[in-house]
């Protein structure tokens, strides 16, 4: 651990928060989406620092890559045009509610911070292969979940095609 870890934690943590703030305050949806990509990258760096390298890689691959592409597509499909035209919930009430939710979330983090968590989650000794920690439970204990995921993806395929395919 030590300073190297701490410095990196603060760099990426603050960058993630700053990008998230930029994401919700930008007027242009495309700019907002790109700030979200940056948040995802910073989160992935934090995952890697927590020894969750696989999750970090997937975070970049799926969230920052694929899902953001679709996000941008939707933005462009809707052709939102000039940012000032967009009516959104940035009125006083929207801000108040958002602030309230923010306070609740902060309080929640404080509550969780203060309690001493039981060490129920076993401290797995870091395996040689970083993926083993994921693969071992995924393909054994969560075998059913793994297979059901493919059925879920199948339903998503059918749904996407049915809704987006123009009748020929």
């Amino acid at each position: 651990m030590g300073y190297f870890y701490q410095i990196n934690f603060y760099i990426f943590g603050l960058l993630a928060i700053a990008s998230a703030l930029a994401f919700v305050t930008r007027k242009s949806p495309v700019a907002a989406a790109l700030w979200l990509v940056n948040t995802m990258f910073c989160l992935s760096a934090l995952y890697i620092m927590m020894d969750a390298q696989f999750i970090g890689a997937i975070q970049v691959l799926v969230y920052a890559g694929a899902i953001m592409v679709v996000f941008l597509f939707v933005v462009m499909l809707l052709n939102l045009g000039h940012p000032s035209d967009i009516a959104d919930m940035r009125g006083t009430w929207g801000k108040l509610i958002a602030a309230g939710i923010g306070v609740v979330l902060l309080a929640q983090i404080l509550v969780i911070q203060r309690q001493r968590l039981p060490r129920i989650v076993p401290d797995v000794e870091a395996p040689r292969n970083v993926i083993t920690g994921i693969a071992q439970p995924l393909f054994n204990e969560y075998l059913l979940a793994f297979e059901v995921t493919s059925v879920l993806l199948l339903a998503a395929i059918v749904g996407a095609v049915l809704l987006a395919k123009r009748r020929g």
Partner: protein, 135 residues
């Protein structure tokens, strides 16, 4: 894994950011700005631009992107499977990274085959439906 192993990656990232800032910053500092209407128009390979860039995209792009994500996620599941395959195809724990003789199991192969079969049905559906064709 030791976090210091990522030091080169971090250095590379810092180098890239610095490089980008330097290139943009230096050119910004050294340039002389004499804007004219022609210079400020959007560059369209020398052809006068036609209309606005904010055009509505076809919904077909969305379908392609959506299908890309779904099959992308399928691949994501295959990475841990492949890296863990040696153990998954062995009924007992590996010793020295090898499966003791006579303990081969088809469990790992089977579960991935089922997974892929289900998604293959999806692929066949998409194909037959013509969603992979542009027109």
């Amino acid at each position: 894994m030791e976090i210091r192993a990522y030091l080169p990656l971090l250095l590379l990232m810092g180098f890239v950011i610095m490089n980008a800032v330097m290139m943009l910053g230096l050119s910004h500092l050294t340039m002389r700005s004499r804007p004219t209407a022609v210079k400020q128009s959007a560059y369209e390979s020398g052809i006068p631009p036609l209309g606005d860039a904010r055009e509505r995209f076809s919904v077909k792009f969305y379908l392609v992107a959506m299908l890309f994500i779904i099959f992308d996620i399928e691949t994501v599941f295959m990475i841990p499977w492949a890296s863990h395959y040696r153990q998954l195809s062995c009924a007992v724990p590996l010793s020295n990274g090898l499966c003791p003789a006579g303990n081969t199991s088809f469990f790992g192969l089977g579960e991935m085959l089922v997974f892929m079969l289900i998604l293959f049905v999806g692929l066949a559906y998409v194909w037959k439906k013509g969603a992979l064709q542009w027109d």
